[in-house]
Amino acid sequence: MRNPLAKASSKYLFLITATIGLVLPSSVRAQEEKPWERIPVPPLHEFKPHEPKRVELKNGIVLFLQEDHELPFINGSVLIPGGARDERPDKAGMVDLYGQAWRTSGTEKMSGDAMDDLLESKAAKIETGGDLDSTALSWTSLKGDADQVYDLAMDLLFHPKFNGQKLELAKEQDATAIVRRNDDEEEIAGRESAKLVYGPESPYTRQPELATIGAVTLADLNAWHDRTVHGKLIVAVSGDFEPASMEAKLRATFEGLPTVKPLPARHDQFQQTNRGVYFINKGDVDQSNIQIVGLGTDRRNPDVPALAVMNDVLGGGFGSRLFQKVRTELGLAYAVGGGFGFDYDHPGLFRVMVLTKSPSTVDATKAALAEIAGLDTRPITEAELKRAKDDILNSFLFRYDTREKVLAESVRLEFYGYPADYLETYKTALEKVTVADVNGVAQKYIHPDKLAVLVVGNGPEIKPPLDGLSMGPVHPIDITIPQPKQTAAEEKKQ
């Protein structure tokens, strides 16, 4: 859990999220002189991103080595295919418990608690975690401690000893998150809107329940580890090392392993969303969280560059149509934005979000829907295109301005099976996007009749009520947290 005070701290930001993308609406008025255009922009200093060395072992394991001598640290990670989407539905939450208990349990040689003491005294770290599609082990230490920390990390990778108490501890943590999941309006809105698109039982949205985490056993964790650790590992190290000896070290660890066993390919089904209005009542808020959602696409789709430009026009930044209209012109929201999502190996979400005071819920929703539909009816202009491309391309550099970022991108592309030059080809494709391309993808992908509207808010204060959206009946959603069924023994006791 993140620091709850951080969220409620006394700092107030100008923007709710960092966004990329910016375009002005079409009607930019002519100005006689633009002082900023007289300021010279010299050619950028020559720069070639520092690519990591890639080594593919005979068994299929891939190593990346990224030298960086600025500071005396060495960092590493092992990315392992298989994550929460691959767990059994009746044990939803298992991978998250695994990710916690793996590290806190420790190994045969050293318990997790002893590892904490040793590492923290050196301000070093070894951590593990579970994600939607992968699990990972990572480490970091001062150069002088690097050999010892590496050996410990590898011991944990290959010889974990899962501990029942640590599993129970992880269950307490996750149970706490489950019982609190309806306290925060934003969390409810994000979660439930994704369910409207993917379906409540989808591997991409199903949520851990008290019963499903309760069903997870130590045997499950061991079986998961055995199953995934023989997969196609991606090992990445960065920092202040000598490359030849680091490569030899990694080879010594990983070269002797058997040929990797890939997980079976997934065959997920995704369907278009049904139009409709959904409502979740929350009595203790004075602001509605409005989510307008539908199905997105994946990054392999050749339309993605044009969609990225379209996103900037719609909801990407200060100059986007949504920001200009709903925030700047109408003053109806602090947080507004969104766009058409694309994930690496499955369709992302189309999502537009607006947060507005309860009485203006219908007005703000209508305004946002009008801007979405406007992509079809008010084609983007050359001026909008130029601005969007300036914005995306001039800040493109920030995708690879540090060696850590370049390494992370290499690992990501390797993991999802994209070509190593993906960013370059993506950039070239962005440069070539035309007005016709953007208007073409808007017509092809923006279907207001395939979007669901979810409002989380204070029902009695929403005036006019949601019927005012004229999108048919309002469907209430029950988000009551299921209590685990009592066992026969417990029932008998009462």
Partner: protein
């Protein structure tokens, strides 16, 4: 102060360090090599520019640090500093307008219309609804007239089209910071944009933006259980000092702030002597300083604004807040502590580290690992600010079936241990090691470094304090920790706040609250 400054780019990532032996040498080295990379220049108007050369990639990051925040809001105008920060994105007389002379006249009329409306609205007796409606209409008309000259969001549009990345600003109680990163060939363009908005702010679209800020308040405070709790907690902990006042502003006050008031705040606090600008990245100080001087010397000079004279009186009564509602339980308590100037500042950091940092920390091991009553717990300081005497806060998030009262008792037990028994050598050494590590690790991040240099230059008058403070870290002893714990962690110096979960109403859909 060290832990707080670096926490922002440390969130969720791993903390690193050198071995104790390597330390002192390494740091002397770091300070020396940093001195060669850093140039400081105080301009004739009093504004300080810091340039740090870090040519890893052709980019730079900057932070403009204003030594004024919501603690400086005048009485009755809480939220003003933050409101002005929003205004600083609205452009200048040159950017964001089609015809500034005409717009200026139109904006004066907006102000007159707003004054007339508010005068009627605030009448204690005899408010005339019909007149009020007419005045409202006149106000909207005046705004529409002024809007004719506006090119909305042109300032940010120009910045983003030129590659500005992570563009944002942040208003805290103590300070206001503006920041972004950009390709290095846009440095002069940035200098023009940034200096222009500092001295040539136009109160454009002010009243629409005020509605936006009210939405921000609803999101962060009113519609968030912890947001509500923290606001009440601070309002209870302080009786005199502005740290007890809502930072984003009380609704009745933010909703009445006028553009005239925002511009008065600007005139007083946005003067050269109150501003530090730090630039870190692929820049050569000898080449860029003359150019930066040309632009940033346009900021007016003016006396450094007088410091606040209110001092929070010594607390003598324990105070508590109980919020009963249908959200899950939470516990927080705070003790008044001195400002960052206090010679014991590093001792507070040591206590925070030993109590809270990671799975070896005392609170984690006691409440989370061993007793299994909390999912998360920490002791942090300073909160909510550091410029003035602040609070040392402890909080805990109970696991299902456990109560705020159990959190309180368990935290108090750990505090008692600090008062009666010395921490171990290993714990103290770990704090010192990790403090150095955090500092070193932060040096590889342009934006984090710009923030830290600007903040330390403002707070200590010398960015070198970023390194020199390690001397104070080194000097912390076990006896210091016991002494400070016994001074500060007293019941009479305590304010606590908790959420007690109420059962849902018998009939009624309380979907969000179960």
């Amino acid at each position: 102060m060290l832990s707080r400054v670096f926490s922002s780019f440390w969130k969720g990532f791993l903390v690193l360090a050198l071995t104790a032996i390597a330390w002192n040498g390494a740091f002397a080295q770091d300070l020396k090599s940093f001195e060669q990379k850093i140039t400081t220049k105080v301009l004739p108007n009093g504004l300080t520019i810091i340039v740090c050369e870090r040519p890893e990639a052709p980019v730079f990051s900057y932070t403009t640090f204003i030594d004024a925040g919501d603690v400086n809001d005048p009485s009755g105008e809480s939220g003003l500093a933050h409101m002005f920060e929003h205004l600083a994105f609205k452009g200048t007389s040159q950017i964001g307008t089609t015809d500034y002379p005409k717009e200026k006249i139109a904006l004066e009329k907006v102000e007159e219309a707003n004054n007339a409306y508010e005068a009627e609205y605030l009448k204690p007796v005899g408010r005339d609804p019909q007149k009020l409606a007419e005045l409202k209409k006149a106000m909207l008309q005046a705004e529409a007239e002024a809007h004719k000259y506006v090119i909305p969001n042109q300032f940010t549009e120009v910045a983003q089209r030129n590659g500005a990345n992570d563009l944002n600003a942040e208003t805290g109680l103590d300070s206001t910071q503006y920041f972004w990163s950009m390709p290095e060939n846009r440095l002069e363009l940035w200098a023009w944009l940034e200096s222009s908005r500092l001295y040539d702010t136009v109160p454009r679209e002010f009243y629409k933006e005020r509605d936006v800020v009210l939405e921000e308040r609803r999101m962060r405070t009113d519609s968030n259980p912890i947001g509500r709790l923290v606001e009440q907690f601070l309002a209870t902990a302080y009786v005199a000092h502005n740290y007890g006042r809502s930072g984003i502003g009380w609704p009745s006050e933010v909703s009445q702030i006028s553009a005239t008031e925002a511009m008065a705040f600007h005139k007083k606090y946005y003067v050269g002597s109150n501003i530090v600008v730090a630039v870190v990245g692929d820049v050569k100080a000898s080449e860029v300083i003359p150019m930066l001087e040309k632009y940033f010397d346009r900021v007016p000079d003016g006396p450094k604004p007088e410091d606040m004279t209110t001092v929070e009186p010594k607390q003598f009564a324990e105070k508590s807040v109980v919020i009963r509602e249908q959200t899950q339980p939470f516990y927080v308590e705070g003790y008044h502590r001195p400002s960052y100037h206090d010679p014991d500042d590093a001792v507070y950091d040591a206590i925070s580290d030993i109590m809270s940092n990671g799975r070896v920390s005392r609170l984690y091991r006691s409440l989370v690992r061993d007793q299994q009553i909390a999912a998360e717990t920490q002791g942090l300081s300073p909160f909510p600010g550091d410029k003035y005497p602040s609070l040392f806060v402890f909080y805990a998030v109970p696991v299902p079936g456990h109560t705020p009262a159990e959190m309180r008792d368990a935290i108090h037990k750990e505090i008692e241990k600090l008062k009666t028994t010395d921490v171990t050598d290993a714990e103290l050494e770990m704090y010192k090691t990790r403090a150095r590590a955090n500092l070193l690790r932060g040096l590889a991040d342009n934006q984090g470094l710009a923030n830290a240099l600007a903040e330390y230059q403002t707070r200590y008058g010398d960015w070198r304090e970023l390194f020199k403070q390690l001397d104070r870290v080194d000097k912390v002893t076990k006896a210091d920790i016991r002494r400070v714990a016994n001074q500060v962690f007293l019941a009479s110096n305590r304010t606590s706040a908790e959420i007690v979960t109420e059962p849902p109403a018998a009939n009624g859909n309380n979907g969000g609250a179960q």
